[in-house]
């Protein structure tokens, strides 16, 4: 067996698990092995912000795709529709920011589609603002800081792939009445935000957003794959130790 076959086996097994579990979880079953307080806090803060008429800001990160974190840049786009139900997206107080042009365009399309599904296909949602404050991570930071300081905001959510510059975003909010949730996937962001953000979602836990049937299936699939990988690594180490490999 070579690495190509191993790749096909892992992908085939993952597809099989995803399909079976997605069907199982559609029938109102939920995978609740972990309860992430930060995700519940984020949902609550979103509702409270809408009720109080406060602004909300979602940051989609710096990159759509990278070799080191494949899938992390794409993840905010699959999460975004769940953060945009018509009641939440219609009050004109939601801003979505990114420093990647393609992420900005995709986000705009998702916003419009969510609005048209809720109201009419002939309308465009002008209530949700999509901005690109800068086209590199630090230029984005320089453009973003005055923007988030301008209005009182109820919720700030950091999603996607971003780096240590997020420490400056978090610092700008310190001591103010804002609710900050950061989903830090990259190692740099995790290290930078750990000492600053109370509601920090670390590592692969970022993929727990959003909460729905498809996500429950993918979480259980990830957990099964992770356990198999751990067993494989331990087995490989033992075989190497005894001189078989």
């Amino acid at each position: 067996m070579n690495w190509v076959s191993a790749g096909w086996i892992v992908i085939g097994f993952s597809v099989l698990l995803l399909v079976v579990l997605a069907i199982v979880f559609k029938r109102s079953l939920r995978y609740q092995s972990r309860r992430v307080r930060e995700i519940e806090a984020m949902v609550d803060s979103q509702v409270v912000s809408v009720e109080r008429g406060m602004n909300r800001h979602i940051i989609l990160g710096d990159q759509l795709w990278s070799w080191l974190y494949p899938g992390l840049g794409l993840h905010p786009l699959s999460t975004l529709p769940n953060l945009l139900n018509p009641e939440i997206a219609a009050d004109g107080r939601l801003t979505i920011s990114t420093s990647d042009g393609s992420l900005a365009v995709f986000a705009r399309q998702i916003v419009n589609r969510s609005y048209q599904d809720g109201y009419s296909p002939f309308f465009e949602n002008r209530g949700v603002t999509t901005t690109l404050p800068g086209s590199s991570p630090l230029a984005f930071t320089a453009g973003l800081l005055p923007e988030i300081g301008k209005h009182s905001q109820g919720m700030l959510l950091f999603l996607g792939q971003y780096g240590p510059e997020s420490a400056l975003w978090a610092e700008a909010l310190r001591g103010q009445d804002r609710f900050l949730v950061a989903a830090a996937g990259t190692l740099e962001a995790q290290a930078a935000l750990f000492s600053q953000v109370r509601n920090l979602i670390l590592g692969e836990m970022v993929f727990m957003l959003p909460k729905n049937a498809a996500n429950s299936a993918s979480l259980l699939t990830e957990d099964i794959l992770r356990i198999l990988l751990m067993l494989g690594l331990v087995l490989g180490a033992i075989l190497k130790l005894v001189g078989v490999l």
């Binding site: 365009v105 453009g143 510059e165 978090a170 190692l187 993929f207």
Partner: protein, 205 residues
């Protein structure tokens, strides 16, 4: 119809690209075309995205918002770089110097602010996180890594001290590998969710 078409297009493109990694010889000609189209589309999207940047600064100027002066600087800089970039190639020494001599000092100064911010925030760690296993572990790791990287602790080869230092130095890499493996699994499942149309960010639900 539009919904079905977009699903078929997205899934078939994804499956071809995925299969292309395993059947390189057979699918390489199609894969090259698809990736070229993808890169071209992303470049166009990048340009459209820049229009958001320009729009927000132009609106700031028109509405005479606070900080509109900085928008003038951004717009002038943008057009100078854009026109120079169109006239000269990326390899042009003047163009490279123009960008590097502005961008690097400006970004370096922001990195300096970031370093100070991180230092100050590390003092607040216990106040934010409280005394728990994670915060204590984080603090101990930071202090130990800093001390080890200063090279104050030296030990002779073959001694226990040397082994311990090597062990502590390798720990961050072990943790990083663990996190990267978790992220890779997450990335794989996210990609498969889109291929299996469990998530459809590209079309109507």
């Amino acid at each position: 119809m539009k919904k079905t078409l977009s699903i078929i297009f997205a899934v078939s493109t994804g499956v071809i690209v995925l299969a292309g990694y395993f059947f390189k010889d057979q699918l390489n000609p199609i894969l090259v075309i698809i990736i070229d189209w993808g890169v071209l589309l992303l470049a166009v999207l990048g340009l459209i995205g820049l229009a958001y940047l320009l729009k927000s600064h132009v609106l700031k100027l028109f509405h005479r918002e606070k900080g509109a002066f900085f928008s003038i600087i951004v717009l002038i800089s943008f057009f100078i770089i854009f026109i120079t970039g169109l006239a000269a190639s990326m390899q042009n020494p003047f163009f490279r110097q123009l960008i590097l001599n502005v961008q690097i000092p400006v970004e370096a100064s922001l990195m300096g602010i970031l370093a100070v911010t991180l230092l100050l925030s590390s003092f607040r760690l216990i106040r934010i996180r409280g005394w728990n296993l994670m915060s204590i572990g984080f603090l101990v790791s930071v202090i130990l890594s800093l001390l080890l990287n200063l090279d104050y602790f030296q030990s002779d080869p073959g001694t226990l001290g040397r082994e311990l230092i090597a062990f502590w130095r390798s720990l961050p890499f072990v943790g990083a590998r663990g996190i990267l493996l978790g992220m890779a699994l997450g990335g794989l499942v996210i990609g498969l969710r889109i291929l299996l149309t469990l998530d459809r960010p590209y079309s109507e639900e």
